[in-house]
Amino acid sequence: MGKQEFTISLFSEDHIGILNQITIILTRRQINIESITASESAVKGVQLLTLVVKTSPDMVRKVAKQMEKLVDVLKVFVHSSDEIIYQEIALYKVKTNGLMSGNIIDSIVRNHHARILVVSPEYTVIEKTGHRSEINDLLNHLEPYGILQFVRSGRVAVTKQVKELNAYLKEMDGADRYREENIEPYEKN
């Protein structure tokens, strides 16, 4: 079966070691993480990990189940790229003198929908959000002018079925939550 790109959105309790548990599952199956982003989710106390992996549909289904089986993991969603709206953000630090000739700056801002963050005599920092290919296009475009630094974030994504996801999390949040300072464990109402 051919490899495809999948985005795994994993909602978990905010406990130490979750990422370690996730990477163990992927490592055992020899799956490389293309990108990873950790953040708080829309629900307080729930962490969201967004991972991009390239593997077969069958394998991503198996690892997602193994992730969901982890005690501290609330829910795992797997999406192919056309089921989500996603972005990455990139910062480019470029030599200023190179950029100052002609209307390169103009071309960057207009054609690539990028932003200038900082301009100093030595360097200029440009920010661009978009898909991987768009970010790479701009990188190629800037290369001749001397790139001092380049960094790209992991993917952040929301699903096209936003409502379902939120409803699910709200439902979970409605339940009595375990708190570290509370000696009483969770009880169902």
């Binding site: 978990s12 309790e13 070691g17 370690n20 548990q21 163990i24 055992r28 289904r61 198996k62 189940k65 193994q66 969901e68 089986k69 005690v71 501290d72 993991v73 609330l74 979970m172 339940a175 009595d176 939550r177 375990y178 570290e180 300072e181 509370n182 000696i183 009483e184 464990p185 969770y186 009880e187 169902k188």
Partner: protein, 581 residues
């Protein structure tokens, strides 16, 4: 006495709650969870807990094994026999890492064990302090859940969660790592059992539609076969399985860990599945038109070559762990549920049937297997003593009613093949992990878990020496377990593979052994060595009649092979009955 008095004085009550140390809280939690036996080994970081244990000796019995691995295996076997979570203590660093094989073993065989390890004081964590190890990181891939406690007040809540997680859903080992300062610091003790965690849903409502579809598939099948696994025993569904099989008339094959969940003398018993399983259930898996797999996980030792596995069958998989469904074998109908619950709902929906000609196919296979393998293995007339012969004799002498513990390898396969189990939960073995050295400490744990039953361990001469130090535990606590060493002077199963697949090049498999009888005597354990067939029965009788522990060292055929065999990479229907190498 004076000191103890002072301690009591210090336990002032605040809001009706006792102010006790973390160490005492750990023990109180265990008492609250119904624990009465702990297996373990002390050391620096866990000393506060052991110190308190002296005050709790009327409620908590501590079994000091001679190695932490032994404690872990004993706790697992105890859990399997007693039907409640085992508990195991170890200190930080090497104490904790010595548990790992035992933890992994319990993980692969879904056995609930609560491991409590001590950790260096919290201020020293991460500094490579003396006997500090990152046991959370080390145990993470082999535990169902693990957690570190650095504050004494977190002890009750965390232990409550640990027990809840260990024993619910698909059970498994959990590990709690408790820093020394958390053991020493005080807390106001209050305990409440855990019954809910929002991120963990061990018990999902039964999808009745799926069970109804299963009933239709079952009622229309012509050659159905039940594959029953450990899940039957874990969920306590032995009665339901029997009712289901008897009503539908469907033959029942069992996995290694499923052994004893269905009586071996039942007319619908099809045998034991897998690499060294019975001929019929392996061969006929590929003839079946419907497979009803219950509480099993299609391990590679059961399926053989997946590309040629059960291709004529539609497959129904009843399994509590969703990650096991469609993992190895693509199924036609999944019932993600507790085995017992699913069977209870299923039984009224299926029609009464019988499959006489299909059952006959199994009986024909049984006959072939008997003629080609079993007869010579269990009733040999000449030559060296055979493993199968010993096991079958023990089976007959105990009426299939003993608890059988095994090590790993030929001893294990012979015990699985030739003991005729009649009571559920009476087979304790290391399945998924295949841990040599499991047998001796597991025999100890099993005997402590059920002192009323005869516990017999079948162990090879190789595995026996991997945890031989546990003879000290048997001696110390006078544990009346019976140990049979099936001694062939070889690492038998590896030698068998060398014989079959490596041109008989016996690389590092022949053992130079000590005199086990003298070793046993050194530990004050009665022992006997048997090497002639005519002495076998009498020796076994002496062992069974012994009130205390007994070790029977039996010299068996040096180069015997366990057959039949589904060779690695072969299909279950290409099972080898007679190997002429």
């Amino acid at each position: 006495m004076k000191e103890q008095h002072e301690t009591k004085q210090a336990e002032i009550q605040v809001n009706g709650l006792e102010n006790i140390t973390g160490a005492e809280a750990i023990l109180r939690c265990l008492v609250e969870e119904g624990v009465d036996t702990i297996f373990g080994y002390p050391g620096g970081a866990i000393m506060p807990v052991y110190d308190k244990l002296l005050d709790y000796s009327d409620k908590l019995r501590h079994i000091l094994t001679r190695h932490e691995q032994g404690a872990a295996h004993a706790a697992q076997a105890y859990a399997m026999v007693a039907g409640k979570p085992g508990v195991c203590f170890a200190t930080s660093g090497p104490g904790a890492t010595n548990l790992i094989t035992g933890i992994a073993n319990a993980y692969l065989d879904s056995v609930p064990v609560v491991f409590i390890t001590a950790q260096v004081v919290s201020g020293l964590i991460g500094t490579d302090a003396f006997q500090e190890t990152d046991i959370l990181g080390v145990s993470m891939p082999v535990t169902k859940w693990n957690c570190q406690i650095k504050k004494s007040q977190d002890i009750p809540g965390t232990i409550a969660r640990a027990f809840y997680i260990a024993k619910t859903g698909r059970p498994g080992p959990v590990l709690i790592d408790i820093t020394k300062d958390a053991q020493v610091d005080k807390l106001l003790f209050r305990y409440k059992k855990c019954s809910y965690l929002r991120s963990y849903n061990p018990h999902l409502p039964l999808k009745k539609k799926a069970v109804e579809s299963a009933a239709i598939m079952i009622n229309h099948a012509e050659k159905p076969l039940i594959l029953a696994g450990h899940g039957i025993l874990i969920s306590g569904a032995e009665e339901e399985l029997r009712t289901f099989a008897e009503k539908t008339g469907i033959p029942v094959a069992v996995t290694l860990l499923g052994l004893s969940c269905f009586p071996c003398d039942h007319r619908l018993y099809a045998g034991f599945l897998g690499m060294h399983g019975n001929y019929g259930p392996n061969l006929l898996t590929n003839e079946a038109d419907l497979i009803i797999a219950i509480g099993m996980r299609f391990d590679d030792r059961v399926t053989g070559n997946l590309k040629k596995y059960a291709k004529n069958a539609r497959i129904i998989h009843i399994e509590i762990d969703e990650a096991e469904i469609n993992k190895n074998v693509q199924v036609d109908l999944e019932i993600h549920s507790d085995a017992r619950e699913a069977l209870q709902y299923l039984i009224p929906l299926v029609s009464e049937k019988s499959y006489e000609s299909w059952i006959r196919e199994f009986r024909i296979c049984d006959k072939v297997e008997f003629e080609k393998v079993i007869k010579a293995e269990t009733k040999p007339e000449k030559g060296e003593i055979r493993m199968g012969e010993v096991v079958r004799m023990v089976s007959e002498m105990t009426a299939g009613n003993a608890i059988i513990v095994t090590d790993v390898g030929q001893n294990q396969m012979s015990a699985a093949r030739y003991y005729k189990f009649t009571s559920p939960g009476s087979f304790i073995t290391s399945g998924g992990m295949g841990t040599m050295g499991f047998g001796l400490p597991a025999s100890i744990g099993a005997k402590i878990g059920n002192p009323d039953k005869q516990v017999i361990g079948f162990i090879g001469d190789g595995g026996f020496q991997m945890t031989i130090q546990e003879l000290g535990t048997i001696m110390h606590y006078k544990i009346p377990a019976k140990i049979i060493i099936l001694n062939n002077g070889f690492l038998g199963m590896v030698r068998q593979w060398q014989h079959m697949f490596f041109n008989r090049r016996y690389a590092s498999t022949e053992l130079v052994n000590p005199d086990f009888e003298i070793i046993a005597r050194g530990y004050g354990i009665p022992a006997k060595t048997i090497s002639a067939r005519q002495d076998l029965k009498e020796g076994l009788q002496q062992m069974l009649d012994a009130e205390g522990p007994f070790i029977l060292n039996i010299a068996v055929e040096k180069e015997g092979n366990v057959l039949p065999m589904v060779e690695p990479g072969a299909s279950v229907s290409d099972v080898t009955l007679n190997y002429k190498g």
